[in-house]
């Protein structure tokens, strides 16, 4: 790895390193996509309805929350950080959204919210709560230099606690059609939350690929000291990714409440692990600096296809986490294998 690994990096190397076909390298690089296709083919052969348009939208609607959270998580992990708090922030933001929509008598489960601008305010409140939570995390991580794992582990506990205090154990339900629109209606054939998910993927992709911000994120993740000495505001950049992740969690809190028609303390419990798994399966390095939103999209779809395919085949749902666990380790192993191949 260091100075002149076996002269491969030497002066004779560049001209001769013409890429030859290397099946293991290709397998490693495209492992998630290959997994995804193989799974889809298997499930379709067993159950032709799996490949239907209906199931396609169904699958996306099942997974939009993971998908949006994973976009935010990709930014965090690209800087070499981690955000364990997303599930808890989601729950708290969902309760705040419900309360804002219903106004002063929000504990009254008999009457729905007023709809209209109340819903807009609810969504804004959820996003603000999420971004605010992310700002707190980011401040502790970037300014106070507390490790991200510790800060967001604290967040994981604290925001869930905040949700409990607020709800006092009671879910908030009964919402207007306006409120339910964002989680359960359609634009053409596409569910509204899936359209929002798509917008996040596209925005995230463009931001990371084409903007100075995205470039700076990769640089900070790849080598924070070099990034700072190149004139980047590394503290601000690191804070920003937690704000993005928190913002995504906040919005998901609102969308999930809207989809389920209830804001609950237990919403989003354990989501952080699934979301991190999706990002990692998608090829983003936990050490930072390497990865992409497209990879994350593939990782999310892979988990979604797996869950839905197993359900269609009546496999005991408790097997899902086991399979996901194996795939996480396997895809990272194949990725490492491919990298080693590339470097000789």
């Amino acid at each position: 790895m260091t100075t002149e690994t076996g002269a491969v990096a030497g002066t004779v190397a560049p001209e001769q390193t013409k890429r030859r076909f290397d099946p293991i390298e290709l397998l490693g690089r495209f492992a998630p996509v290959i997994f995804l296709i193989v799974l889809a083919v298997i499930f379709t052969s067993q159950q032709p309805a799996f490949a239907s348009e209906q199931n396609f939208w169904f699958l996306l609607r099942q997974n939009f929350v993971y998908g949006i959270l994973a976009v935010g998580m990709t930014f965090v992990i690209l800087t070499g950080g981690i955000d364990l708090s997303v599930g808890s922030v989601l729950a708290f933001a969902g309760l705040v959204a419900a309360a804002v929509a219903k106004g002063s008598n929000w504990r009254d489960v008999g009457n729905p919210d007023a709809g209209g601008t109340a819903v807009l305010l609810a969504a804004l409140a959820a996003m603000a709560v999420g971004a605010g939570a992310g700002l707190i995390h980011g401040f502790a991580i970037a300014k106070l230099k507390v490790p991200a794992f510790v800060v967001t582990l604290g967040g994981l506990a604290a925001w869930r606690g905040a949700a409990q205090v607020m709800s006092q154990g009671q879910p908030i339900n009964k919402f207007s059609d306006d409120y339910r629109y964002w989680g359960s209606q359609f634009i053409g054939p596409a569910p509204v939350p899936v359209v929002i998910f798509a917008a996040f993927v596209i925005t995230g992709y463009l931001a990371l690929r084409f903007t100075t911000y995205g470039r700076s994120i990769y640089a900070v993740g790849g080598n924070p000291e070099a990034a700072r000495l190149s004139g980047l505001n590394t503290t601000g950049l690191i804070m920003s990714v937690y704000v993005i992740s928190g913002f995504c969690a906040g919005l998901c809190g609102f969308l999930l409440t809207s989809r389920l028609g209830a804001a609950e303390v237990v919403a989003g419990q354990g989501y952080e692990l699934i979301v991190i798994a999706a990002v990692v399966i998608g090829g983003t390095s936990l050490f930072g600096g390497e990865g992409s939103i497209l990879g994350t999209l593939v990782g999310t779809l892979l988990i979604g296809v797996l869950n839905s395919g197993l359900a269609i085949n009546n496999v005991n749902p408790y097997f899902q986490p086991i399979i996901i666990g194996v795939i996480v380790v396997l895809s990272v192993y194949l990725d490492q294998l491919a990298k080693r191949r590339r470097r000789g």
Partner: protein
Amino acid sequence: MVQDETARAIELRSPLLRVEQVSKHFPGVLALQDVSLEVYPGEVLGLVGENGAGKSTLMKILSGVYQPDGGQITLDGKPTVLHSPRQAQDLGISIIYQEFNLMPNLSVEENVFVGREPNTGKFVRWRELRRQTEQLLDQLGVQLHPGAIVRDLSVAEQQMVEIAKALSLNARLVIMDEPTSALTDTEAAALFAIIRGLKERGLAVIYISHRLEEIFTICDRVTVLRDGQLAGELPLAEATPDRIVRLMVGRPLGDLFRPEEAERRLEALAERSQAPVLEVRGLGRTGTVQDASALVLEDVSFSLRPGEIVGLAGLVGSGRTEIARAIFGADDYERGEILVDGQQVRVRSPRGAIHLGIGLVPEDRKLQALVLSLAIRENLGLSMLDRLSRFGIVRLGAERALARRMVDALRVRTPSIEQKVLNLSGGNQQKVVIAKWLALHPKILIMDEPTRGIDIGAKTEVHGLMHQLAADGVAILMISSELPEIVGMSDRVLVMRKGRIAGELARRDTTQEAIMALATGVANTAVAAA
């Protein structure tokens, strides 16, 4: 005379290690081709070659990390296959890498005997461990407490721990990779004394170094590699620096530092006598992470004029890098002021320094200057993203054009600007770092060890670039531990000692001895410089 004796003694003995026709392929590269060499007990064999010449590959084969594709290795006259580092170690081959394999959180004695502590079944016999460690350190003539924690030791002391560890393993062949790259001259002299001691005890040493003067100080024979092949083997008596360099690069080099450039520049500077572009007055800082009362910098004052190359010399830890980082805003300073173009400025961050036209080529390119996982193009654009973008969108066309221009101008050897920096050789990586700052057109460029660890060919090119920059009016502050580089390149030299500027030398007064005298505070430095 000593060398003659050794030569005679060698003739009588059979080689400890014989490498015959060894080859090693990597995908797309022939790293070693039919390389042969012999090492005899009680001799120091110098192994030189540019980066990528195959030294590291050969070393890894000898330590059992890589298996050769062809050829034979004979140890004590017996054909041997070295299939693992552990086995090589058991056979008496020890390697001391540039980056040490020590556990910084453990003590000297624990490191020396790690995994092999004297014990009674389950328990370590601490007193015995200490006694054996003291014995080893005595043999080496090193003053070190066996209980000291390795993290608190200097680089030179850590190296001694590595050597003690090799001895404890009953090493018969010690391979040292660039052992002096992070040592001061005094520490290097101490290391040479230890190597001579190893030699007297009949050990064989393979000494890998970029620094030719060291080869002449310590080695009995020299083996030169070039492009994975044996370029030549010389007894020291027949070797001259010029001959070795010619074998290494395959062509003769003129005077490495092109002193005529510096002379011409001095004349030009004298004629123009411009106002300084940078002035530092009374800069001071107290306190490090380890010691809050340690004096880091005290009353540092100097100035830089446009088009001038000023050398900043001094021992490692004398405050050279700290000055660079303070001017660049990477570290804060407590006392004093900095003026750029006569205006007082307060530099709070590298970002601020860049806006003022200051650039810094940091001392460690991998840790501080490059994002190895990104392409050449992306690294080059990093310090000037705001200039290469519109509304926050990177103008890829402009960035590509810049990258192509810089890669051509600095002759970075790479198949493409999209190549990850990770895959470049050290010299080419350093060129990317320098290119990154050239692209910004700084007024002031601070270069901390600009040619550390790069091969002679690349070094000459970097020096040429520095002359070119100075001719274009850039003020350069060059920090270097290599005295010939300081003497050869600088228009004048500032020498630091213990956080202060101990003195300034004009070019005509600059000699290695004069610098060492100021750096160590010892008037007669014949010993230290030897």
